[in-house]
Symmetry: C2
Subunit: 412 residues, 2 copies
């Protein structure tokens, strides 16, 4: 049921099983933040958690904390906290490095597990996925082909039966399209293709079942819906069935079977730990852990229900002022973000800026997309209603045409 | 001049040009910390710096901080702060990822710049360097050979003129041996070999001249002598003459020439930025910046003078109770750490534990090495004197033979 009035939104907030979680976040005064799909908001517990890590674990206990504070095992203990959010077992996920480096590891590992040499990717994927694939295939002597995964090309390309690895984003960063993980993974496997899912825009946004869908590998970042802090360490999932044979190229000492023997030759650790490389930034890990501990209190089914109701509401009101949506109307094809286009060319950027001036923060993605993320842990239905009202007013009034809204900044 | 009495040490402290810097650090009560070569102490300014980054930059300003707080450029601004510590120009260093990943990038890049396919490394190098080399040569179709770089093998191997890349640690992690960067780099270049220096155990420990010695590439970590926090992001140096041709394999969007154009194909950034991959952990970067800002107040010539006097003092007193040193007596071959061996087999571990019980923190490295690091920014001469006294007493008394000192923990 899509709410249509502010009163209905307030009633939904009053009955919202996630309502109390909003109190777990710091949110700036006078702001409705619709960019949690880019950088999640700050959990209230993070500053104290990080301060304790710095002042006690580092400052007072110094190197003893490698044992006593669990620093050495942090990639695994954090991985175990990510696991339920992606439908994996706790020993199939590690946290460390960035999403780009983890994707590189998964691509090379998967290519080595296959006797084929084609990586099939998306023409419109987030650029780093394309660039990292370029780097990995260049070094591994493989090739990259690209398709639109939402069209007929995907099945056609897989049917050629020369694809070693299919790399897709679960939710498209720009349009918010959610892909059918179950069906696509099954189809790829039927054609002898391994699958890597990039979960950057879906983890914490939609329920995910990696193990249940027999997914081979996955990577994701933690600084968007998981609220771990800007650039926080990423995660890597590898299905248990691949652990023993996985031969990843960034073979550092944290991935060694017996790291404290200081042996000269590399012997990979038995489980998913073999995907680790070097030491991890533990100050950033402390912030990440605080974010994951908030997620431990959330039911992803509630998150999904609220997300769909919020995006339904926002899409309906945007349509009322003539904005086109490139985000699907069908729930099963929608992530937790909405991408809108104003028919007048070049209008996207200034409309986003005019909204920011009103305290509604979304973002802009080239060529002309207005992007709004919906984070059920800390957004209320009334916030979404008020943000939609601001959007309607900005478009109807034409205030976005003012010259000050068209000055571009470097990063948006 | 090596001090020999506590009074002489106190006099040296009174005249020490670095003395005031000790106040910039938090040091636990009752501890003499001789493990700053493993994990540097906490700068006093770090907690507030990190808290401000979290609460204001992230919590209040959210995504605006990518511009307003300089997040996007942090790998370059932090690189510019590392540059004077390694004798490089500010546009030759970036900070990001870990030392293992950065080493991988440099190895593959250097192999691609050469028409040879051998990486020459050290048999006794810190394991991750060996493991990462194994990973890089495996993927790049190259080979690894290993020598003792302090023996005649180095010149012999280089004279074969089939070595593409020489990878050495500037200071050996175990023995504290300092290598002749100028002479070795020159010799390698004479034989057509590119050089990568691992500076993990030398940056902040000894003066370094990368540009002045025409070094090709270097990597280093920041959490030892630079006091950036456990596992803090690493740095990468590439000589400017290599920038245009450098083709590094972890090609992510932060290394792209025009990252916000979201173009599908990779086009590397013109300078050292092409060595970047993905987003960096900015909470950890804030701690790193606090550490580097303390270093901006230190003169590396003073650091070196004090370091040598301290290690001279410690070595002399260790010798007085029959401990052998595997750290060179010659100043020009010594880093800022001391490695000792007790003639009785298996004595190293319990002696280190007995010292820790007395508040003197050093560490142990297999097979039987006691390792002590000297960090002139926050150690006083009297601390070194007192630590040496404790060592002398532990050895002379035989108290280390107590059973409680021989229970091994996982990480040392």
């Amino acid at each position: 049921m899509t709410p249509t009035t502010r009163e209905e939104c307030a009633a939904l907030d009053a009955a919202d099983p996630l309502a109390a979680l909003r109190e777990e976040f710091v949110l700036p005064e006078g702001v409705i933040y619709l960019d949690g799909n880019s950088l999640g908001a700050l959990p209230r517990s993070t500053p104290a958690r990080v301060a304790d890590m710095i002042e006690r674990e580092w400052g007072q206990d110094l190197i003893r904390s490698w044992n006593d504070a669990g620093w050495w095992d942090k990639p695994r203990t954090l991985g175990a906290k990510v696991a339920p959010l992606v439908g994996a077992d706790t020993d199939e996920v590690v946290v460390g490095d960035g999403a780009s480096a983890n994707l590189f590891k998964c691509l090379v590992t998967a290519l080595r597990l296959s006797d084929r040499s084609v990586v099939l990717g998306e023409a419109g994927n987030f650029p780093t996925d394309l660039y990292v694939t370029e780097g990995a295939v260049g070094l591994a002597g493989a090739q990259q082909r690209r398709i639109d995964p939402d069209g007929p090309g995907l099945a056609q390309e897989l049917a050629r039966e020369d694809v070693a690895v299919l790399l897709l984003s679960h939710v498209d960063y720009r349009s918010g399209v959610l892909r059918d993980m179950a069906g696509i993974t099954r189809l790829a496997h039927e054609h002898g293709t391994l699958v890597i899912w990039d979960l950057c825009h879906s983890v914490g946004a939609v329920p995910i079942e990696l193990s249940g869908n027999d997914v081979d590998f996955a990577v994701g970042c933690t600084y968007k819906y998981l609220n771990a802090g800007p650039g926080a360490p990423a995660f890597l999932y590898a299905a248990r069935r691949h652990h023993a044979a996985a031969d990843q190229p960034l073979s550092g000492w944290h991935g060694h079977a017996r790291p404290f023997d200081f042996t000269p030759d590399y012997e990979p650790a038995p489980g998913v730990s073999r995907f680790l490389s070097g030491s991890q930034p533990l100050v950033a890990d402390a912030a990440l852990e605080a974010g994951l501990d908030v997620w431990a209190k959330a039911d992803l089914a509630h998150v999904r229900t609220k997300s769909l109701a919020m995006t339904d509401l926002f899409l309906a009101r945007a349509a009322s002022v003539g904005l086109a949506s490139i985000t699907p109307a069908e729930h099963e094809r929608r992530g937790s973000q909405v991408a809108l286009v104003q028919p007048e060319e070049g209008a996207g950027y200034p409309i986003v800026q005019a909204l920011i001036e009103r305290g509604v923060i979304g973002d802009f993605r080239a060529p002309d997309v207005m992007r709004f993320g919906f984070t059920p842990l800390y957004l209320r239905y009334v916030d979404v209603y008020d943000a939609a009202t601001a959007l309607v007013e900005v478009v109807e009034s034409g205030e976005w045409r003012a010259e000050r809204f068209n000055r571009r900044s470097q990063v948006t």
